[in-house]
């Protein structure tokens, strides 16, 4: 029975922490290699700070690894190394752009790379806190509405006079105690949990009631409420905070979770129509959205536009790139935050960019795999939502930088300069790992019959 013997997947619960440690070693090795490479090509010689950088990133990775070993032994072995590698590459590139900015005299005093390392440390502390405090993700279901409220408050916080701050044309920052934060990054996590908790309760109503129209299962008019509210909130974010990226992210997330929990394609069509309407409205009404679209359709229309410079840098990079430290990514505006993907493409080329996008894809794939393996619907929906938030973010920013869609200001997860985004992403990774620990943990001993079938399948091989 060739069919039976090849398709039997024997699931042996394995912790796989050793594999994780091995992958972490490679990830840290690649990051340090990038740092040394930049030192050799852009600074003439291995920089003295290499040891410090290697020790820092290695220690943080080790701490995260030990936390998993003791607190979530069955967690997915691939997610953490991928996150560490992206973070390490990001820091190396930010350091490289620091050097470039100093060379052309556009430095703003302090270099950015040490800041980013500090924020990485804060992120890993956040990671530890999530892993240690949240023993079981199902507990979070009790806080569904609390977290929903918290998410909304975080969203509108930048509009509060006094603490709101307008940085680079979008009032999505708050300034507390001399430091600026982007509360939207944490709102994302809160809202994913809220959407998941809400849909667990409501999904049956949303699935069962409705009528068929043109081969589509359309929901009842009264069930359209939540999607309309989500649409209005995301439109509100767009109108009052001029934040195209976040608005797209929140609406997209809600739509995805709605689709995943109800399995109704009708929602996607309704959402798509609503999104198209909202996008056209924004294009027609707001100057900055209009400008982004113009910049996208014709990057040469704006003098010194960042999309234009980014595209030129990517074209100069070509297939194999200029090599780390040998391009001029610093010429682009926001080369270390919004445009970091273009900086990477310039110096690592298409080959390196594909590897980076693959690493993001791997995190997303592991997130969705966790959702498949998870035993409760709430956990499934959270894992899907967190993975999709990564996917949407990477799509929107990479698509914007490479000229596929208009550029919007979403942070490139783990790479872009920015403390809030980094801390929020480490929390997301921790939550995903917590759920995957639950999903991969061996269940209660299987009944005799299942042992028997497995034994039979094994014998046939």
């Amino acid at each position: 029975m060739s069919i039976a013997s090849t398709s039997v997947i024997q699931i042996i619960p394995r912790t796989r922490r050793g594999v994780e440690l091995f992958l972490l070693l490679i990830a840290v090795g690649v990051s340090v290699a990038a740092y040394v490479n930049i030192g050799i090509t852009a600074e003439e010689g291995v920089p003295a700070s290499t040891g410090l950088y290697a020790a820092g990133i290695g220690l943080l990775a080790l701490i995260a690894h030990l936390a998993l070993r003791f607190r979530a032994p069955y967690a997915d072995p691939v997610i953490l190394p991928c996150a560490v590698l992206l973070n390490g590459l990001g820091v190396a590139m930010i350091h490289r752009i620091d050097l470039g900015l100093t060379a052309i005299g556009r430095t703003k005093g302090v270099p950015f790379a040490p800041q980013q390392i500090t924020w990485t440390a804060v992120g890993v502390v956040g990671f530890l806190a999530v892993i240690i405090v949240i023993r079981d993700h199902r507990r979070l279901q009790a806080f569904t509405y609390t977290l929903g409220l918290a998410g909304l408050v975080l969203l509108v916080l930048p509009l509060v006079p006094g603490i709101g701050a307008n940085v680079n044309g979008a009032p999505i920052w708050i300034r507390v105690a001399g430091m600026s934060f982007q509360p939207g990054e944490f709102a994302k996590v809160c809202l994913v949990i809220f959407f998941a908790g809400y849909l667990v309760v409501k999904r049956d109503v949303l699935t069962l009631a409705g009528r068929r129209f043109l081969g589509l299962d359309l929901p009842r008019a009264r069930d359209l409420g939540p999607i309309l509210i989500a649409w209005l909130v995301s439109l509100g974010v767009l109108v009052f905070e001029s934040d195209l990226g976040s608005s797209l992210l929140f609406f997209g997330l809600f739509l995805f979770l709605l689709y995943v929990s109800t399995e109704r394609a009708g929602w996607l069509i309704i959402g798509g129509v609503l999104f198209a309407g909202g996008a056209y409205f924004a294009y027609a009404t707001f100057g900055h959205v209009h400008r982004r679209v113009t910049d996208w359709l014709d990057p040469w229309a704006i003098d010194g536009g960042q999309v234009k410079l980014g595209l030129m840098g990517q074209a100069w990079g070509g297939i194999l790139g200029r090599g780390l430290g040998q391009g001029h990514p610093e010429a682009t505006l926001y080369a270390n935050s919004d445009m970091i993907i273009s900086s990477m493409a310039e110096e690592l080329g298409l080959t390196g960019l594909i590897a980076i996008i693959l690493i993001y894809t791997l995190i997303i794939e592991r997130g969705l795999r966790t959702a498949l393996g998870c035993r409760d619907i709430f956990g499934k929906l959270i894992a899907t939502g967190l993975a999709m938030s990564f996917a949407l973010q990477v799509f929107v920013i990479v698509g914007g930088v490479t000229g596929l869609i208009p550029l919007t200001g979403l942070a490139t997860p783990f790479m872009a300069l920015g403390g809030t985004s980094l801390v929020a992403n480490w929390a997301i990774i921790a939550l995903l790992l917590r759920i995957s620990d639950q999903a991969r943990r061996p269940q209660t001993p299987a009944a005799p019959v299942s042992d028997e079938t497995i034994a039979m399948a094994v014998q046939k091989q």
Binding site: S7, L23, G323, A355, M456, V458
Partner: protein, 160 residues
């Protein structure tokens, strides 16, 4: 520094980056194609299992019509349906008589029906297939007492 060295450093770093990607892919490969079961590990696993003296499954089959089909393991253990006259549909859909909470099963996965004086198992074009006693069901096959049906990750027992 010579041009050649710089090119070698550049290519070396790209190779290193891709090495990481390939290492990760090789780790998750087992997830996509199933873990290879080592024959020694399997041999060690079988004696451990003290509850399998009846590997000779066909011997267990008795005459008479089966009367019930029940989920054998997992959180849904014990859920089942009695086999009367009506066909029993098993799957994830809400219209199934046995509703599985199993991501590897299809909405309408398999069917048990009565014909010519005996019960048959039929696969309803499922994605992952239906297995009766470890054999893939490609056309309706007779279901006998003591047989076990595997759908996705779920095993169902046919009993009297």
């Amino acid at each position: 520094m010579s041009e050649l060295t710089l090119t070698l450093i550049k290519l070396g770093f790209l190779a290193l980056l891709w090495m990481f990607v390939l290492a990760v892919l090789s780790v998750i490969r087992s997830d996509l194609f199933g873990a290879k079961v080592d024959s020694r590990a399997a041999a060690a696993a079988v004696p451990q299992n003290t509850r399998t003296p009846k590997t000779a499954k066909p011997a267990k089959k008795r005459k008479g019509l089966p009367a019930s089909v029940t989920i054998a393991d997992g959180p849904q253990a014990g859920v089942g349906a009695s086999l009367t006259e009506e066909p029993v549909i098993i799957g994830r859909g809400s219209d199934c008589q046995i509703r599985l909470d199993d991501d590897y099963s299809s909405t309408r996965h398999a069917r048990l029906f009565m014909s010519e004086g005996q019960w048959w198992v039929e696969d309803l074009g499922s994605t992952n297939g239906t297995y009766l006693d470890g054999q893939r069901v490609t056309r309706p096959v007779p279901a006998e007492i003591g047989g076990s049906i595997r759908i996705g990750r779920t095993t169902l027992n046919i009993a009297k």
